[in-house]
Amino acid sequence: MTTPAQPTATHVRPNYMLIWLYLFVMTIAEVLLAFELPVSRNLKLILLLVMAIWKAMLVALYFMHLKFERWRLRVIFLVPLPLAAILVTAVIMEKLR
């Protein structure tokens, strides 16, 4: 007889609908910023990237529950990020050579 593994859900559950609302509002803001607001191209680029990363972090932290996981598990997801940065930087450097 095996014991079923208990998924760990000991934390206070976040308000998922509020996160959804944040994501929805930020998506509308992104589209408005991209097409309607008279902002310089560089500022627009930075703002759009910041908003995209913010939205992605909301999904990772609250929907994927990374905020409530142990550091040992978070590291698995975080390790590829510097590797990814190195990969992109290396390709850009190669292009610039």
Partner: protein, 239 residues
């Protein structure tokens, strides 16, 4: 008897105790997602290098691609992500049912069966809208090789080469279809997996508040697919 002993000795302990302190299915999914991060980074990194390394300007946002339609798709995927996490929360509370009347509340309470179905519908909707988008784009002359000769987009590109990025159309087409295509493939795999779970595990009520590993693991995959789309939508459609 000897064979039986060998079989037992070979069987891994369950629940598996791993270094990360989680059950093995979940650890496996996280390791897969870590590898998928590198996969999509390679695609996005190549896109950035190709786009900003080209001397010819890229097509302006909204000139070729249908942003309102893709905005609708983004909305569908965000909705599917929240319904997935609601399915997770429902089964964690032991709610296996579809909908149930709650005393004193107008809206019925959704259980695992309800939220999983919503997730599958939204996911399938995303794939459907992406198919429509592809058909329309190819119909207008936007292909992985660039603008098809004699097409509507080729004519527009001739009239306004800067707005439509005529000089970089081939590169634009190949990177666009590669990135969105691979993402669409991920979504399709997710929908098929969820359909399988729905008919083999969710409807027969095999998950419970004590064991809902399948829902948590497929949920992780599904949220990751949503996360990747959030980045792709901004980079490909808005910038």
């Amino acid at each position: 008897m000897q064979t039986q002993t060998m079989t037992d000795a070979m069987r891994p302990p369950f629940p598996a105790e791993t270094g990360a302190g989680v059950y093995s299915n979940k650890l496996g999914m996280w390791v897969f997602l870590a590898s998928d991060v590198m996969f999509f980074t390679a695609l996005i990194g190549s896109y950035i290098v190709l786009r900003f390394g080209m001397s010819s300007p890229w097509a302006q946002p909204g000139a070729v691609l249908n942003v309102p339609l893709t905005g609708l798709n983004t909305f569908l995927l965000i909705c599917s992500s929240v319904s997935m996490v609601k399915a997770y929360a429902a089964i964690a509370d032991g709610k296996k049912y579809f909908l149930r009347k709650v005393p004193g509340k107008t809206l019925q309470d959704g259980g695992l069966k309800f939220w999983m179905l919503i997730t599958i519908i939204c996911g399938a909707g995303f794939v459907g809208v992406q198919m429509v988008e592809y058909i329309k784009l190819v119909g207008h002359g936007f292909t992985p090789a660039g603008f098809r000769e004699g097409s509507l987009l080729a004519e527009h590109a001739l009239a306004d080469p800067v707005k439509y990025g005529a000089g970089a159309a081939g590169m634009y087409g190949s990177t666009f279809f590669t990135m969105t295509g691979f993402h669409g493939f991920h979504v399709t795999c997710g929908v098929i997996s969820m359909l399988y779970l729905y008919f083999t595990k969710v409807l027969p009520e095999k998950y419970s508040a004590q064991d809902y590993r399948g829902i948590e693991v497929i949920g992780l995959y599904w949220h990751f697919v949503d996360l990747v789309w959030i980045i792709l939508f901004t980079i490909v459609y808005l910038i």
